[in-house]
């Protein structure tokens, strides 16, 4: 018995922000740290 949940591949936040011309502003204002979610354990 496999239970499957289909995933949709939608627009990323980056794509939306690029379309609106806001990407550069947002990436500078909210710089992304990919390790932030793991920092507590490393």
């Amino acid at each position: 018995c496999l239970v499957q949940i289909p995933l949709e591949k939608g627009k990323s936040a980056r794509e939306v922000l690029e379309e609106q011309g806001l990407w550069e502003e947002y990436r500078q204002k909210y710089p992304y740290n990919p390790m932030a979610k793991f920092d507590g354990s490393f």
């Binding site: 018995c1 496999l2 239970v3 499957q4 949940i5 289909p6 995933l7 949709e8 591949k9 939608g10 627009k11 990323s12 936040a13 980056r14 794509e15 939306v16 922000l17 690029e18 379309e19 990407w23 947002y26 990436r27 909210y30 710089p31 992304y32 740290n33 990919p34 390790m35 932030a36 979610k37 793991f38 920092d39 507590g40 354990s41 490393f42």
Partner: protein, 320 residues
């Protein structure tokens, strides 16, 4: 008190699935994130632009909701989410998990406004979970809802549809060849040991071995800055504001990058690790940061069907 837990806030994330919470059910789009362990969704107690752009859970509309009330604070690189905890029935793909503890957001970072997903469903180990909240998958296992204590993920490369999370088993339709089973090196995340990263037969990164987290909640392949610089230099990419760009015309001539794991080779062709950007040409999927840890995110997982085996504490990888 609820301790802070860092969370995902990756602008490149694009895969989400639908779950429901409460009775009658309220539906939410969530990112299935193997790099965290909490479930949370926006709530009616949040009125920021980020929350107003998403579906909000209303506990008053659910006959099965029970308040926990403990505060929840999740900090991440570009902002934070705060809220409180409650219990309700959560339905995931036809599996009904009763009394599931989850977070109801009260504040969210402005950045969240632009994400299509409403919330996050964490699929890592319970010891990572904020406030000790039992993760959804642990409740599935404890209630005997699934045949095997594992789940698997297929991320389609191009199509908007076709990607899937499978609970309780492996879908043989989504991979070819055999599965390589890799023991976890840390049963907190889905963390494994990578022996090296190579290209054209030469080691280009992770010389002598390194640790990597298999994370559906990270869009790129992330590694130590020096190693990532080496790979991108070797690929001929140029750096701008922390991103690495190549000419889109060169993709056909660019080499494979191979992750050597547990004696097996996991190879990524350029068509997998290069992606076009609307305003920025073509970007490589290798991103640097300041620790020694690697993250094998969606760029890697689109090429390799991944199986997350809680029963045996192993990750399985097979060619998607």
């Amino acid at each position: 008190a609820v301790g802070p837990e860092s969370m995902t806030n990756d602008a490149g994330l694009s895969y989400y699935g639908v779950i429901s919470i409460g009775n009658p059910p309220q539906s939410f789009k969530v990112i299935f994130d193997t790099g965290s362990s909490n479930l949370w969704v926006p709530s009616i107690y949040c009125n920021s632009a980020a929350c107003n752009n998403h579906v909000k859970f209303d506990p008053g509309r659910s006959s099965t909701y029970r308040q926990n009330g403990s505060p929840l604070s999740i900090t991440y690189g570009t902002g934070s989410m705060t809220g409180f905890l409650g219990y309700d029935t959560v339905t995931v793909g036809g599996l009904t998990v009763t009394n599931q503890i989850f977070g109801l957001s009260q504040t969210e970072a402005p950045f969240m406004q632009y994400m299509q997903a409403d919330g996050i469903l964490g699929l890592a180990y319970p010891s990572l979970s904020a406030s000790g909240a039992t993760p959804v998958f642990d409740n599935m296992m404890n209630a005997g809802l699934i045949d095997q204590n594992l789940f698997s993920v297929y991320l389609s490369s191009n199509n908007q549809r076709g990607s899937v999370v499978t609970f309780g088993g492996v879908d043989t339709n989504h991979y070819s060849d055999s599965i390589t089973w890799i023991p976890l090196s840390n049963e907190l995340y889905w963390q494994i040991t990578v022996d090296s990263v190579s290209g054209n037969g030469q080691v280009v990164a992770c010389n002598g071995g390194c640790q990597a987290i298999v994370d559906t909640g990270t869009s790129l392949i992330v590694g130590p800055q020096g190693d990532i610089d080496n790979i991108n230099y070797w690929l001929g990419a140029s750096s701008q504001n922390g991103e690495y760009m190549v000419s889109c015309n060169n993709i056909g001539q660019m080499p494979d990058v191979t992750f050597n794991i547990n004696g097996q080779q996991f190879t990524l062709p350029a068509s997998v690790y290069i992606s076009p950007s609307q305003n920025y040409g073509c970007l490589t999927g290798f991103s640097g940061q300041g620790t020694n840890l690697w993250i094998l995110g969606d760029v890697f997982l689109r090429q390799y069907y991944s199986i997350f085996n809680r029963g045996q504490n192993m990750v399985g990888l097979a060619k998607a």
